[in-house]
Assembly symmetry: C2
Homo-oligomer: 360 residues x 2
DNA sequence: TTTAGCACTCTTATTCATAGACTGCTAATA
DNA sequence: TATTAGCAGTCTATGAATAAGAGTGCTAAA
């Protein structure tokens, strides 16, 4: 039974069968209980008898959309059944006013540290959906360094502020007792050689630049220290980071299951292994500019088979989304992820445009 | 039975009874199983017979140190039993090299944002102990503003850097297009009126200062904006914040229990209610400079009765500690909390001293 | 004061029986 | 041909009954 065959089956299914499948998925998502023909009759309307529904259910089972755990139990959707349902709801439902307001409010400050921005986004996503949210940081290879500034804090400490293309700001403290004037000069020197360079260039040409900088900033060891720190920081930022929030929601998800304990352990281990989890996210086939999902066993990692992973790219190679139970509220999650993803993309793009303007 | 009577009982208890009590608590903490006389015999040594142990256990039960869930079950420690055990181990065990190294490494940077410092501390505490960690931010009323600096980022954005007494740094972005020179001048003006002032003064005398600043910084609306933002920031910082980490560990704790689900829900709600949780922490009677603990029903809040709350003040009105099951590894937790608490205090105090020096 | 020995208590696991929820099939019906 | 009523058959869930086992409390002796 190839994928095409399955699709044909769906297309050729009459309306009632689709409605029944939809009703089963919907009801199972809401209640978590296997769905009986009787239940469908009550929920979905008494146009036909329960016997007819049973016949259709048998058909749906034959073609792999639903299954039962024993000979006379109600039916639960299979992965294929969810897939049908999910592809069905392409019209995104509107977000509530309240949610929209919360999102607006959360993004109030524009030029924050990238880290804070992404963390906040993950938190938002999680609290609005009630599931576990993740945000995968963008790939920073192609972004440009906009400025690096050294600022005297007090007799012993200097603050280094780094601004990149995407509106990223990060700060580090260096111990140094140079005067404000000297620091200003050093900042100017550093900026002259580094401004507008791509981060991956800066990373790759470290040695060459180091020489150059050493030549130009003779007598200012602080410049070299700043340069070294900048490199360290770039290395850190170019590593992709994963921000996960709402782990408490995991409790709700997993607690009602039979194998809750071992499930939770697996998932805990996975969530702590950024690399594997990142892989699982990146492997999801992405619809350009839209929300994608890997349902249950569609997931790359075995540990994720009991869950669904909703993901959306927000540009610059970054992605955000939701980890939830297979029976999650896809409609709500899709629209929320979509809205927040677009919002985040806008914020990052605007940062970029503003930069472009100042560089003219 | 007053507290004195109880203490008398403990003092008058012969050595063996204490050892048996200690063995029961220790074994129960390790295994989670009710402890039988036979088990004690095996674990603790065969100097006496199990019947003798049973007699002693009866005594210990009579005076409220242990209890059994049914007539012929093994014994579990009562709150009073834990209390005995905990007061018993006042010598803190040494921290492992590995842990000490992790702590050193984590505190590498000295002048970080207070928020980051506290978050990192909570994370550290949680990962070293395997329980839920909290850090309650210090009371900032009496700290002094050290400097406020405005820094041009690009054509549209200005970074405001605020440094306080405790080595606190926080940053905010203001939209403004003033030149670097103008900003420098504004910074100087702001510093002249605000440096060395206590944060609560600044907060309370807002109106008066605003007038003063308006007079002096005529023509620089950015100064007023910075001032307003400073106030907003001070208000935010002076609110006590609670940083909680390691919630995943809650899973391990709660999963093995019978009423796990409802327990977890309660606790989730509590952890999200900073105010109540803060109250529960502050109400713990503190040993000056040491670690204190509220065991089980000793906790102020009913929701915390199934847990123990270990807390240590790190000065400046701040506290940090661990939320864990009543049967937690107190020895390990005490020494870890103690070590980290002292470390944090040192960091904050050094920040303060450095400040004092620059002010001379 | 300690100990051996035994009766007694309560838990936990297992088995068994019963009620109930659904399906699948057959035969009748539109 | 599609639908439906009715009923037999399947499996779960629940509770009762039972047996095995872990552990104490007590008594009488050392």
């Amino acid at each position: 039974m190839t994928k095409n065959a399955k699709n044909k089956t769906i297309k050729s299914m009459d309306v009632r069968k689709r409605q029944i499948l939809s009703a089963i998925v919907d009801h199972y998502i809401k209640t978590g209980q296997a769905v009986s023909s009787q239940t469908i009759l009550e929920t979905y309307g008494p146009q036909v008898s329960s016997a007819t529904i049973r016949n259709d259910m048998k058909f749906l089972e034959k073609y792999g959309f639903i299954s039962k755990s024993w000979s006379s139990s109600g039916r639960t959707p299979t992965t294929q059944g969810y897939r049908f349902f999910v592809d069905w709801i392409n019209e995104l439902s509107e977000l509530g006013r309240k949610d929209e307001y919360a999102i607006m409010e959360s993004y109030e400050f524009q030029r924050q540290r990238l880290e804070d921005l992404l963390k906040r986004t993950a938190f938002l996503l999680s609290s609005l959906t009630g599931y576990v949210a993740f945000v995968l940081s963008p790939k920073l290879e192609s972004t440009e360094l906009e400025s690096i500034t050294l600022l005297k804090l007090d007799g012993e400490n200097v603050l280094m502020v780094i601004v990149s293309n995407l509106g990223i700001i990060d700060t580090r403290v260096i111990r140094s007792s140079y005067s404000a004037e000297e620091l200003e000069e050093v900042s100017a020197l550093l900026n002259r050689s580094l401004r507008g360079r791509r981060l991956d260039q800066i990373r790759d040409e470290a040695v060459k630049q180091m020489n150059e900088i050493e030549r130009e900033t003779w007598g200012y060891p602080v410049a070299q220290e700043a340069f070294a720190l900048l490199h360290q920081l770039i290395d850190q930022q170019m590593q992709r980071h994963l921000y996960v929030e709402g782990i408490l929601n995991l409790l709700k998800i997993v607690f009602t299951w039979d194998e809750g304990l071992s499930q939770a352990r697996h998932l805990m281990a996975l969530l702590e292994d950024e690399e594997r989890f990142t892989q699982a996210i990146e492997v999801i086939p992405t619809k350009p500019g839209g929300v994608s999902v890997a349902i249950g066993e569609e997931n790359f990692l075995d540990d994720l088979h009991p869950y669904s992973l909703v993901s959306m790219g927000y540009g610059f190679g970054g992605a955000l989304g939701i980890l939830g139970p297979v029976r999650m509220d896809y409609s709500k999650v899709f629209s929320t992820a979509n809205y927040i993803g677009n919002r985040l993309q806008t914020i990052l793009t605007v940062g970029q445009r503003a930069t472009a303007m100042t560089q003219n």
